[in-house]
Each structure stands twice: as C-alpha cells, then as structure tokens.
Amino acid sequence: MADIKKLESIASQVRRDIIRQVYLCQSGHPGGSLGNADLLVALYFEVMKHDPSFNMKAEGEDVFLLSNGHISPVFYSVLAHAGYFPVAELATFRQINSRVQGHPTTHEGLPGIRISSGSLGQGPSVACGMAMAKRMNGDDRTVFVLTGDGEQQEGQIWEAALFAPHNKLENLVLIIDDNGQQIDGPTEEVLRLGSFEDKYKAFGWDVMHMDGNNMAETVKVLKEAQAKRNGKPTCIVMKTAMGKGVDFMEGTHHWHGKAPSEEQTKVALAQLEETLGDFPA
C-alpha cells in the first residue's frame, strides 16, 4: 500500500523547491509546475520502477517524458530528491554554466533527462518511439508522457494520437494536464479544446480520468494505467489547478510563467511545509 501521507509531504517540499528555484533566478514557470507536483511525486516515489543511477536506454525501467518542458522546476526537484543529481544543484536553475537549464535538455548531461523539450507538442511522438522500442526488446515496462492541455493544440499531438493506437502501443500512457489555462488565458478562450475524452476515444485510445491534485486517486489511476495491457494506449485526462498549493497563484494563467517577488515568495513559502530541507540558496 502506498504511504499517501509520505508522498504528500514530499510534494510539499517539491512545491517549496519550485517557488525557490523560480524566485532565485526571477524567471521560469511556477503555475504548471505547482499543479503537476503531485503527479510527478506519485510517479517517481511510488508508481514507476526506475533507477536513479540513470541509464539512458531505460532497459527494464518505466520511463517518464516531460513534453511540456516549461514546467522544468517540478521535474528537477523530483529528479533531485529521487537521487538523480544533488538537490543543491537546484540553486543553479536557469543560471549560466548550469546543467539545470531553463527547459530540460540532454545537452548538458543532467541525469534523468532523456529528451530535450521546450518547443511544445513533440513528447508524445518520442514516447511512441520509446514504447515501440520496449516492445521490440521484449521489455514490458510502461512509458508515461505528460503534455499540457494548451499543448494539445499542436498538430503533431494528433499525428501521435493516430500512430499510437494504430500500432497498439498498450504500454504507452499519455497524461494531459487539464488545468484549463495557457499563456494568453483560459484554453476555452484561446483555442477551444472540446472533450479530450471524445477525441481520444474516437482515435482509438482508452481514456481515464483523475484529480491530479489528489494523491491517493493519482496513485491509484496511474497504477491501473500502468498495469493495463489490452492492445490500446491509455490517455489520462488529469484535472489540476494551475498554481496548486499557493493560494494567490491558484487557477489563473497569470502565474504560467512569472516569478514571484520577495514578498510574494515569503507568503507562498509560508503555505508550504518544509519537509525534506530546503536546498541552500
């Protein structure tokens, strides 16, 4: 049984790390990062079989790919706490000569990163390739890929959406961060996405739903998707609140890509318990 309290306490530290990374360099994307903290903690601390000594090929391991690379602060914090690289390195986020780049990249050799992302819409295709390679290799582990909901507006997303069921990629799990927000405003106003469920079902996927800010539910649905082998890829439509955990950032696109001031940072950190120790600034 998963220790949900423990996972939640890790997620609280991850949220502190997100705020502090973005505050220190006065740059980056806190909103989506906060919203996805529970998901990434669930994946790396409960659901996935993975090895922080890091082998690019991930033989015999579950894999997570971040397609919406702008939420790098959550990815970095989770990877660091999971043991991929020193937590202290988070202090170099977005600064010159760092491995902790603005968007995740393989170029600087940061352990845990398997594909560069930042230009949206490309992750699901890469995940299809990894899922196919696993099948060719007789490796039954699962490939998870996360995209934003705004990101689903990219045409390439729908090329992958056709490809995965056609190729019966049953070991592929696509998670959509359905927070209803993107840079220029609510997705509903910028470019309506309609029902993900209807669309992905029509393309031949199994569709599941979860509240991505409810740890117990997130763990349960992820494990179900991970175990499922029925000839179809799985799409999880995951409701989250952008900015989850910091009241003044919650539910608005204004915190998609903005750094908090010193005062705002204090207020934010007061709402998030320090559970594993802050990285030194």
Binding site: R94, N97, S98, G102, E154, I183
Partner: protein, 320 residues
C-alpha cells in the same frame, strides 16, 4: 550622413516594443493588415494594435503550422497577415509550411519573429534559435530583415507592410539601447552607413549593431578608422555597399547574433568571394546551441561582446 558621435543611446527599449509600435502605425495606414499569434500575444507588445483593431487580430492557439497556412489563405484574399511568435516557432517549427504555402506560393505574408538569438536569455537553447537567418535566407523570394533597435524595428514594420512579398522580420526580447534617429528612413535592401572609415569594414545586423558602434568608438580612439555599415536587410543584400566598403578598407568583420554558418557573415562572404575577395572575421556563434543565462552573460560567453568585435577588427586588419 550618420557618424559615431551621432549614434548615442537615448534610453533602452526592446526591439519587440518597436514591433508593437510599428504594427499599430502600419495598421492605422492599411486596413488590411492582420495580426496573428500562437498563444504569445503578451510577448509581442502589440496590445495597442489588438485593442484598436480587435477584428484584425487572430488568436491561433499553440498551432504555429496552422497559423502559417491561415496566413497564406488570408494573403490569397488580399490581406496583409503578420504572423507573430518566437523566432524558433516562426521558422524551424514551420519551415515547410512557409516554404510551400508562403514562399513557393508567392504569398504576401510577413513572418514577425520575436525572441531571436541568445538574448532571450533564461529559457535556454530550445528557444534560442541561431539558425533562422540561414533557413529564411535559403528560401527563394524571401526578404530577410533584422533591425537593430526600437526605432529601426518600428520603421521596418511599416516598410514591410508597403512591400509586396514574403518577409522574415527578426527581432528580440531584451531592453536594448535606442540609437538610430527616429526620423531615419528605412529602405528595404539598402545598407545604412553608420560611420565613414578606411582601415576596416564592420558589417553588423540586429542587436550586435550596438556592440559594433561601441567597438568602433574604441577602435577609433586607438587610431583605427572604421567603416561601419548596418546591414538590416540580409536578403536582398546591398551588394554594392558591401563591395565598395571592402574595396576601400581591404579588411572585413561581420557581426550577428546567429550561427557563423548561413547568416550575415555567410551572405557577405558569398558576395565578396565573387566580387572582391577580402579577409573576413566573424563575430557570430561558433556552431553551437545556446544555454540559459542573462542576455549579457550569454553574449559575453559566446563571443558576441564589444571586446570580441574589437578583437575581430584587429585580426582582420592584421591579415591585410
């Protein structure tokens, strides 16, 4: 006639602010100017245009390829569409859509690209395109313009609205010195002579024009006479201006916030090797991706600083 002492910074604004101001002016004059964006409206500093002409603003969402096609369709019906997003998503992301639906189809689309080069800073290499001038320059019929400050960008937007044919207009994110006189005429394809000199020719485009101006001041103080030329239009290149300057000085430096392959330096080398072979030094990135950092840290680290222009000029002269 401009000269170094007339080129003083009167404050800082981003070239993308110049885009916003130019777009509003072009929109006032031509009621068929349309702005499109792909979920980056806030970054384009165009609220003035959007609020004045809400019916001429099209939000495409995060769908750049579709945006390019929609622009081609609007142009077919006689509109003057200006697509806006970051330079990477304006070019590499949509190269074939531009190639087939815009360039090959002869459409009057203006591809307006912000956050070009290293100076977008902290977002890092995925967003810092250093290959876009090369890609766009390779397309038959494409005009390629990289203005150097707020005033020049504002003037360039108005000029491209008057010009018929596809244009790639490249500008940037950071606040940058404003030093081109506000009333300076902008002529597509015509180099702007910034200083008359005889020892070395410095050809510069985009943000690096300011570095070239500052470098020229230092060189002149050391007794080196600099022929300083702003190549805002990289294609079509003002070959007559390039050849005349190279003939006069016999030593050439090119300066750009772009890879050394395919950009302004390449354009000048192609022109001179055919017409007047001249030793040339490149101030450009050295076939590398960028990284996160502040604009000025990155310009320094990647060899695009003022001191790099000074050193390149001395190397070029030493080879004469």
């Amino acid at each position: 006639m401009l000269s170094l002492n007339k080129l003083q910074s009167t404050g800082k604004k981003a070239t993308r602010d110049g885009f916003g101001a130019g777009l509003k002016a072009a929109g006032d004059k031509h009621d068929n100017v349309i702005m499109l964006t792909a979920d980056l409206r806030g970054s384009m500093k165009s609220e003035d245009f959007i609020n004045t002409y809400p019916d001429r603003f099209i939000q495409c969402g995060i769908s750049e390829a579709n945006m390019m096609g929609v622009a081609a369709g609007l142009a077919t019906a006689g509109k003057i569409p200006m697509t806006t997003t970051f330079a990477n998503f304006s070019t590499g992301r949509v190269y074939d859509q531009i190639r087939q639906s815009i360039a090959y189809s002869d459409k009057n689309v203006k591809i307006c690209a912000s956050h070009a080069g290293l100076t977008l800073g902290e977002d890092g290499a995925t967003h810092q395109i250093l290959e876009d001038i090369g890609m766009m320059r390779m397309l038959p019929g494409m005009t390629v313009i990289n203005p150097c400050d707020y005033n020049q960008t504002k003037a360039a937007v108005q000029a491209i609205a008057e010009h018929h044919g596809p244009v790639y207009l490249r500008f940037g994110r950071p606040g940058w010195p404003i030093f081109i006189p506000e009333d300076q005429e902008f002529v597509i394809g015509k180099a702007l002579h910034l200083n008359e000199g005889s020892d070395v020719s410095i050809f510069a485009t985009g943000h690096l024009v300011w570095h070239a101006v500052e470098a020229a001041r230092q060189l002149e103080a050391e007794g080196i006479s600099v022929d300083l030329i702003n190549i805002h239009t990289i294609k079509p290149l003002d070959e007559a201006a390039v050849i005349a300057s190279a003939k006069k000085t016999g030593a050439v430096v090119s300066c750009e916030e772009h890879n050394k392959y395919g950009g302004l330096g390449s354009a000048i080398a192609e022109c001179l090797s055919k017409n007047h072979p001249t030793f040339q030094e490149y101030v450009a990135t050295d076939d590398t991706f960028g990284e996160s950092g502040t604009a000025n840290e990155l310009l320094d680290k990647y060899g695009l600083g003022i001191k790099d222009v000074v050193a390149a000029a001395k190397r070029a002269i030493a080879k004469k």
